[in-house]
């Protein structure tokens, strides 16, 4: 029965959420996951680079410049993915006072900002030879710039209060408000006339990207996800160790 399954599913999710509310248990799990993430990130990024430079063909119109796609698109996916996970964590933190969820948003923010910056700069370096300009104020580029400002604003806001909890809560509300920008980024290329091209891979009608160009995109996307896992686990462990020190001192 579908209803029964969804109740069981919700129970499993709640058990998972409560199990990792315990920072000591989480730190132990993170100890196992860090080397796994590091290995996956190294292998898949190396594979991605190999395919991006040696196995994928130059584009019939863009030539070798198309290879920028294999770093630009996975970075853009990460920029949006990290923001959505941070907003979900903020909601979990605000509703259930889940300590790790609050720490997660703090730990992930600089990594999300870095991927957004990479997306913007690599896009600019792709735009100059292909469009003849570094930047245009079209809907896609502008909404991604807004995403970067949301990350920067969150990072500034959470540390702007003497009371750390107030900073975390204020940052959480900002994340929830800013989540409206994610569908705007995704659908900007359909809602408005943009210089930026429409979605090529993640779209209802299936991928329009040539098969020879998919492996480097997917390898890099997996490599970036694992890299994010590695860095965010390290940053979470850092935050837990810092708080433990503060309590003991």
């Amino acid at each position: 029965m579908a209803g029964g399954h969804s109740v069981e599913g919700a129970v499993i999710v709640m058990k998972f959420i409560t199990a990792f509310a315990n920072p000591a248990r989480f730190a132990k799990l993170a100890g196992y996951l860090v080397p796994v993430c590091a290995a996956v990130a190294a292998v898949f990024t190396a594979l991605g680079l190999y395919y991006a430079f040696y196995q994928s063909p130059p584009d019939y119109q863009q030539g070798d410049t198309v290879r920028i796609m294999y770093v630009h698109v996975p970075a853009a996916w990460m920029a949006m993915f990290i923001y959505v996970t941070m907003a979900a964590a903020a909601l979990t933190g605000l509703v259930w006072k889940h300590v790790l969820a609050e720490l997660y948003a703090r730990a992930a923010a600089p990594v999300g900002a870095a991927f957004t910056l990479i997306c913007l700069v690599t896009g600019s370096l792709w735009g100059k030879p292909m469009w003849g300009t570094w930047w245009v104020w079209d809907a896609r580029l502008t909404s991604v710039l807004v995403l970067f400002f949301l990350y920067a604003g969150y990072i500034a806001l959470v540390d702007a209060f003497d009371d750390e909890q107030r900073g975390t809560d204020a940052g959480g509300y900002l994340l929830l408000l800013g989540v409206i920008n994610i569908p705007v980024i995704k659908y900007s290329v359909e809602w408005w006339n943009t210089l930026h091209q429409p979605a090529g891979v993640i779209r209802m009608a299936g991928s329009s990207v040539d098969d020879s160009m998919l492996p480097p995109l997917i390898f890099m996307a997996v490599g970036f996800k694992a890299f994010f896992g590695l860095v965010v686990l390290l940053r979470l462990k850092t935050e837990i160790a810092r708080r433990r020190k503060r309590v003991l001192s």
Partner: protein, 35 residues
């Protein structure tokens, strides 16, 4: 700049930023766990 130059600049920038993020995270972790 040639097309290859743009490609190398894009990859160079991306991986320098990721290396800095990783280095900062490792540095902060080591400092936090130091007795």
């Amino acid at each position: 700049m040639t097309h290859a130059g743009y490609v190398l600049a894009a990859y160079g920038f991306a991986f320098v930023v990721l290396a800095l993020v990783l280095a900062h995270s490792i540095h902060a972790y080591r400092r936090a766990v130091r007795k």
